[in-house]
Symmetry: C3
Subunit: 336 residues, 3 copies
Amino acid sequence: MFSLAELAVRFGCEVHGDPETRVNAVGTLQTAGEGCITFLANPAYKKHLETTKASAVILASQNIDASPVACLVTNDPYATYAAVATELHPPAALRPGVHPRAVVDPSVKVPASCEIGAGAVLGENVELGERVCVGPNTVIGDDSVLGNDTRLMANVTLYHNVRIGERCLLHSGVVVGADGFGIAQTASGWRKVPQVGGVTIGNDVEIGAASTVDRGAIDDTCIGNGVKLDNLTQVGHNVVVGEHTVMAAQSGIAGSTTVGARCVIGGRAAISGHLTVCDDVYLLGRASVSRSISTPGAYSSVLPVEEAGKWRKLAARFKRLDEMAKKIRDLERNSE
Amino acid sequence: MFSLAELAVRFGCEVHGDPETRVNAVGTLQTAGEGCITFLANPAYKKHLETTKASAVILASQNIDASPVACLVTNDPYATYAAVATELHPPAALRPGVHPRAVVDPSVKVPASCEIGAGAVLGENVELGERVCVGPNTVIGDDSVLGNDTRLMANVTLYHNVRIGERCLLHSGVVVGADGFGIAQTASGWRKVPQVGGVTIGNDVEIGAASTVDRGAIDDTCIGNGVKLDNLTQVGHNVVVGEHTVMAAQSGIAGSTTVGARCVIGGRAAISGHLTVCDDVYLLGRASVSRSISTPGAYSSVLPVEEAGKWRKLAARFKRLDEMAKKIRDLERNSE
Amino acid sequence: MFSLAELAVRFGCEVHGDPETRVNAVGTLQTAGEGCITFLANPAYKKHLETTKASAVILASQNIDASPVACLVTNDPYATYAAVATELHPPAALRPGVHPRAVVDPSVKVPASCEIGAGAVLGENVELGERVCVGPNTVIGDDSVLGNDTRLMANVTLYHNVRIGERCLLHSGVVVGADGFGIAQTASGWRKVPQVGGVTIGNDVEIGAASTVDRGAIDDTCIGNGVKLDNLTQVGHNVVVGEHTVMAAQSGIAGSTTVGARCVIGGRAAISGHLTVCDDVYLLGRASVSRSISTPGAYSSVLPVEEAGKWRKLAARFKRLDEMAKKIRDLERNSE
């Protein structure tokens, strides 16, 4: 339970309304009730502000007058909400100890502050920092390293030689360090190219459920500090992802591509292999990158849906673009 | 072993040919043999009807004459086939009991009718209905609830506070309740937004292998009764999926979007976040939705493949569409 | 440790420079050091050749002069590199035996040459060839069969009746044999169609992390010898994938489609259901196939990204293609 006054001091906001208003949980503008604090960041939701039943709202100063309840006023309501919500709903506390049904190789030293779940399997020479959490049925390959406060949820798989920094969070189904897609064509079919590199992941990285990050073919695949990957994303072998870059669900980066810092890769966007994408590139959802990008900015390549009948006509026209261009040229010649 | 007469009575069909024809398994038109029943629903396969070696065929009345064998005649051969096949090939019977290598928190009451597989891990206060099946190495987080007759196959992961109705089937690799992709930009990088909602899934829902359904940021992510998700689909946080909507493989719905009832979302189709899609929308495969849809109907946005050389020309023309439009305008002016 | 002379004999190359040069590891042109052998295959990397610190380089004869160090000269540097790298970095040796924490049904005979990891669960009548490796927490359903030298990494799931040939490698998170997406529409919603077929996988197949291969509806889903699937790929029920076909990450084949031999399916490419794609088809990344292909060759359907503002204009022009075509027709009439 916190008062708005306490939260305002802690997170550098101003209070509008009663500073003794007390909150103990978060809610949405539409569904929050007594004791809840909510926020307004996306203008599309402003219509719900005047009817909110929350006890308090985090918002920007221009929206104060529309609020029926007490406010925490800040320049960045969403970031402030993130901080307040973390205060009210901290991550579940660790339950330190090694579950008797975990299987930990004798070579591994498990600090007393770590939690190792039932069915977890830790290979030879795995190194664990303080307060590491390894979820139930998660498997960690030989010689992998997890920094302080890193958490692997249930059913995660790390192969051997995967190095992960501090305060990372890997969700269930994630696979880090599987072989990259290295195959060489021969007369008798495809020959596997051994994938002898590892994976290096920085600090404060989050990887969404069922995402895959392949090990390097020779050198490591590298993910920088502060990177956030959503679910079902794919990072190919030898890829380098710069610091604070984020990838939304089902996006992917093919092998040997380097992506800069602070990029935002929209959902389902795809970057081909052996390319370089500079810092501060924003790919809209489903964008398809097949050449290197050297200029920061927003990029797109997707045609939005049309009613299917109309779309069929447009697709047919598209197929005749070449003819159309020739007709225009003929017309131009005739009109000269 | 059933006679056609029995099946006809049970499923409301007519028999054409010998009603005492007996069948004990299903087969395809091409490969079925003695004792097999097959079906004809897709006209593309009608060419295989006259040479079928099946003992009987389920088909619509207009195809009776083309059948060399006995028939079950029905308006909807595929739905009737589904019913007949379920009769001939019922799901494997449960093997009730808790495997000695399962790890069940002492707070959990496991009904005697349930099957809990080897290596399964059930957290605190998990609630199980009757005849629930939890596959080997599946992990269920604290306070989650499974209704009667729900089955989780092997290596499924449910986080905490996931509520699933009755008669659901979740395939291997599915992850329900991982954190949604909630991150707020700050001067020092992305800050995680706690994901404090849960997931609510209705009755008769099937979720395909390696699909991911995120927990809500504040309120629950909700999947309605009768929804069917194929493999590798992504449902973001706070998404609402209406009853009887289906999503084919590798499709996805981004966070906070509401999709209506009875929609059909084709393979690889994608819907952006914070949108509303009304009931009865049919998205063709790979359609890309970036605005709300308020009119039922079919929608498309994909250009089909062309031979690569031809495609390169079309793509180049596309890039010059603006010029082309200007040339037309000039021509129009000149011709006035 | 091998000399270039030994490698040249073994792999049919010529040596340029000192044949007694000794190497014990692989490296990249940029990062290899003393004792490392590297290769030059992609011309984009030739710029790094002259400054390499490797002890030797595998390359084609036209690049000999640019090499500052000893060379193995071959027509196909990448395939030769694959062979040399396998020699220098052989796969980890098996640790034969059944881990005491594995759960093997009493009906299963485990050859002494096999390795069964901690937490692995093998169902009834599973058949294992020699030197099979089953990783930790991997689950194998009843009646499945694994040929000699096949390896399943950690956290793989095979359902029942999955038959896998020899020398296959399935990565973590892979699910083989889950139910295909067979549902029939009825007045009361979608009805599940039992999936009674199995999966048959040939020899020398590799399946990337978190990929899914569904069991057949009636007959088996079939994957031919030498097929290689990258991560997060989807193979629907009843699909047939021809020998030596490869599928890059996040690609997918919908149900009942037959793909020929030696096809290359680029990253994120998608093939609709009930189609036939002939041998030797190359789909560029993200290509979308919605009709059968009967002519070998390369196919594409993706528009590359543009700066977002420019793209918006092009997309708007695209939407008016029909109007544009009409204007051209009018102009043509006027100019006649």
